[in-house]
Symmetry: C2
Subunit: 258 residues, 2 copies
């Protein structure tokens, strides 16, 4: 097993920058996950794991499939510098962000578009919800929190390894949906249909907007239909991830069980 003892080591510096600097993640197409649960999820998608990083003295669970994975041991001090939280478990996976081909993208029929959602926890929970609802992919537009920010990844609870996440221009994606006759739903309180008036759809794209200002006007004008969730009490709005859950679980067809 390779061992690194200096926090000046170039690899250690790169890992630390992957945690704190978005540009480092964007440029390299890599990210870091921390803790047993997320590392285990990463290992289920072996091709995304570049290396496993363990604090000295840490034992890797015997049931983990790490035969083909490079394992790097680091000192207590380095592990501490890399820790995001006080209760760090001292285990990390250095991962590559998933990529998809144009052909794969062409086949997608159920999509979540995220327009300028700023809180990383919200973006992560939305990715987790899209995964739970069986969507084909999540498309992140401009102005959204980074999908590979450590907080986003933590809220994603492993879904980053289950569902493709693509950065892109949402207007272009809406046009692509129109071309393929996939209905595009926005969310708005004006000129909109109450969510439970629509039927589940075999194909759709749902656009969710910024926590404060909602969907951009430009996108609202391109949608086929806008949905609203009535606020019965005095709350001014729902949390955007909660609203995503309500709308996705209205749009997806749920199989009746035997």
């Amino acid at each position: 097993m390779k061992r690194i003892e200096s926090s000046q080591n170039a690899q250690v510096k790169h890992w630390k920058r992957l945690i704190t600097v978005r540009k480092e993640r964007d440029k390299s197409g890599e990210f870091l996950v921390e803790g047993f649960h997320l590392v285990e999820e990463a290992l289920r998608k072996q091709e995304s794991v570049l290396a496993l990083i363990v604090r000295e003295g840490m034992t890797i669970p015997k049931n983990w499939n790490v035969e083909e994975i490079e394992i790097i041991e680091v000192t207590m001090d380095i592990a501490k510098e890399m820790a995001e939280t006080e209760h760090s478990q001292g285990i990390y996976a250095h991962c590559s962000q998933s990529t998809t081909t144009k052909e794969q993208q062409q086949s997608w029929e159920k999509l979540l578009f995220i327009d300028a959602v700023q809180d990383p926890g919200n973006v992560g929970t939305m990715i987790r919800t899209a995964d739970a609802a069986g969507l084909d992919a999540v498309i992140l537009g401009k102005g959204s929190a980074d999908a590979f920010n450590p907080k986003t990844v933590r809220s994603g609870q492993g879904s980053h390894f289950h569902i493709p996440i693509v950065k892109g221009d949402l207007s272009d994606w809406v046009q692509a949906c129109k071309y393929k006759d996939i209905p595009v739903y926005g969310t708005s309180l004006d000129d909109s249909v109450v969510y439970n008036h629509i039927e589940p759809q075999p194909q759709f794209a749902l656009i969710m907007g910024n926590e404060g200002s909602g969907l951009s006007q430009q996108l609202l004008q391109q949608t086929d239909m806008n949905l609203k969730i009535p606020l019965v009490g005095q709350a001014e709005s729902l949390n955007v991830a909660v609203a995503t859950g309500i709308l996705l679980y209205t749009l997806i067809p749920i199989q009746v069980e035997s």
Copy 2:
């Protein structure tokens, strides 16, 4: 306007303990909210505001109704000590937790029961969602994060001033519902009904459980019916606040608009 300059002042000490110490909140039945949005929500429910606390030099918005409210100015240093975040707005409301009578509690027909949900952000988002869905109250069982923790209050986005929040024994509350023929729904993957197979209900109680372990067995055995949200993709679970939104917006009757 009263002005406090010493951080050793007893009132300042009490405020700081209200932020950090759950016992102080429980014992006094008070809590503190920070920032323009939450203070404005507090002022809409005047009877809950004990005092407004402002950093020196801060101007109170002219449209705020503060005629009958005690306003206390504090120094920059004290304001900084009280700040929860780096971007503190230097404005606070010292509030009393709402109380309800037995008679009021008897009249409630739509309830959310929270069983040992541990993350303050989740509890706050659940309170906000219950408010949005027009529920009558939220009942917090043992082992849940404190409803008046600053993080919970922040995620609640003002809903703490819109909907009664009561701490109590959930078994007792379930029994009270049974006595009044209010159906009680649990959440479970076993022995449960898919959420979209049920009709909206004029009266109900929904119990949501711990993030990791779900509802306690004891409560599960007391419910009238348990609901499940199918996981179509690879996610192991939904965020508990997202699941709360999906289930509440299934259970509440939504008026058809003209």
